[in-house]
Symmetry: C2
Subunit: 339 residues, 2 copies
């Protein structure tokens, strides 16, 4: 049975969402969960679930907590007994196969890299964002914020890692890999994309060339590779736009009685729509390239998002994503001197 | 009276949308419009408007046409009698103060730079995208695709140009200028943003520091400065996401009879919402930093978008945006050696 540690003190709704998500996962998914955080708080929270004593859930105490305001560097240096750090240590020591955190993203990435270490052959671990698309299947955008000023070689490694993730965890049989740029023609891009193109072509994967920003949502490719600065902007622009659209629609729909009635009748449509763009179904963003597993959830994660992140962590482990990344990178490094 | 030339053969709905937009502008805005394109096509289109002979509209013939598929380089070299090139020449020769095109963006930018030339003190002209925000006022994102691999110095110049545009054409009394990055703290960013920060601080404008992707839509700042690769991704991600949201909502709202009724009652709300996010109200993206005026519209532009672009071109001219850019850059270059 796979064991996943949960940093239970991280998210905006911690520890409530974390505990509920863990209980749901342990109840329905055949996964052992270790909740890490202030023991008394977690036990109190767990007592709300009548069946929790029979579930494969454990609690591991951690006295400190990293806030959203802590810098990653400070979090790593100063808070050695934080719930995040303790969760990452459980992975390093083989007690858990991976950890899930909805806390400070920078701190989680820095901790995973430092405590768990990096897979041989990987220059830099990268955060893989999972985006919804018009045609239903999710697309992996890698990197969404772990690295800036990426080299072409780093982008090629992101492609390898993202492609394996799409294949193994998202079940795309032969993922198409695109390079995020500002035009479809090969020469349209910047120095980095132009340098990455020949490397991506040399990889044994289905590289479809440049894709544009709008292609993220069309599902035209399954994996989209980019520098972490660009990917982070794409992610946050999307979040900001969705928030704006929601609020504007809400304002427009409540402006008159007729509209309110319309909105009431159409309520199922909005619920349906929200479900289709709901990030919580995709279970967070994996940090690919670290030893062990690190799944980073949105700060606003609800119990469903946490549960799905735990599920994703377990699939990641049983699909041996990290072993495949190490193997494939070793093989290609041997075949392609440039890479 | 300001004169604006319109490349009437460029957009997806050309020349219909261009002619209708020109007629509307000439009728209501006290602007002289020169339609550039195949004379016979334009005259035929104009004849649909009973009053057109009394309006300040002229037609200038151009035998060639640049398509969306033409490369910018080829368009500039090979099609010397294109509607775009002829429109740009009218600006160079002082017959028009600016031109508007809904055609090939790359070709329009290359043509304006080559034919009209660049304002003294500007290293690179930049495309200013105008985005809607939650609080109603538009935000300028500069650059959205004219330049990649921008230097910090280029970003500082974009800030100067965007700030003047926001002040003069968008009537923001004291625009706040933000630097697009991946975190609000000054050290969060890439080499370029970290290099740009001290330059932006040295400018006599209201620099608010780093802003994130989601802040584009909150209206937290009035001008957002970024590399053209990043800005282009932000623009196209937004377009792709809006298309997805529209289509998903449409599908959800038509799935059952009840939902259809709801949608019918709430129709005014959707119209209202569409108007609030409608790019056509903002009249296209100005290419800032070229001599004369160049306003680039979306390929899908309708007559309203063309009319508004013509209006914006005229306000740009009467507000002496270019003269101010030249003056302010000269002044700051004298004061700040680093700049």
């Amino acid at each position: 049975m796979v064991t996943i540690a949960v940093d239970a003190m991280g998210g905006d709704n911690a520890p409530k969402a974390e505990v509920e998500g863990a209980v749901e996962a342990a109840r329905t998914l055949d996964i052992r969960v270790i909740l890490v955080g202030r023991q008394e708080d977690l036990r109190r929270e767990l007592q709300q679930y009548d069946d929790y004593r029979g579930l494969p859930i454990e609690v591991v105490n951690a006295t400190q907590q990293i806030t959203m305001e802590d810098s990653a560097a400070r979090a790593v240096r100063a808070k050695r007994d934080s719930s995040l750090r303790v969760a990452s240590r459980l992975v390093r020591d083989g007690i858990a196969q991976g950890f899930v955190s909805a806390g400070n993203t920078g701190a989680a990435m820095a901790t995973a890299k430092m405590v768990q270490g990096v897979i041989p052959g990987v220059d830099r671990p990268a955060l893989a964002g999972i985006f919804p698309t018009l045609i239903g299947k999710p697309v992996v955008v890698i990197d969404v914020g772990a690295n800036v000023d990426c080299s072409p070689r780093m982008l090629a490694q992101f492609a390898v890692m993202g492609e394996i993730y799409s294949r193994v965890v998202l079940h795309q049989p032969r993922p198409k890999v695109g390079l995020l740029s500002i035009g479809e023609e090969e020469h349209k891009g910047n120095e980095t994309t132009r340098g990455a193109t020949p490397l991506l072509k040399s990889l044994p994967l289905d590289f479809v060339g440049n894709v544009e920003g709008r292609d993220i949502y069309t599902g035209k490719s399954d994996v989209i590779v980019c520098d972490g600065f660009i990917g982070n902007v794409a992610l946050k622009v999307s979040e900001g736009l969705v928030d704006m659209v929601k609020q504007m629609l809400q304002e427009s729909l409540s402006a008159t009685i007729t509209r309110q009635m319309g909105a009431l009748l159409a309520r199922a449509a909005f619920t349906d729509f929200k479900k289709r763009v709901d990030y919580s179904e995709y279970g967070g963003a994996p940090l690919l390239g670290v030893r062990g597993i690190c799944i980073i959830c949105h700060g606003r994660s609800n119990a469903n998002a946490i549960k799905n992140a735990i599920r994703v962590g377990a699939e990641f482990s049983s699909g041996k994503v990290n072993e495949r990344i190490e193997d494939e990178l070793r093989q290609w490094a041997a075949e392609h001197v440039a890479f």
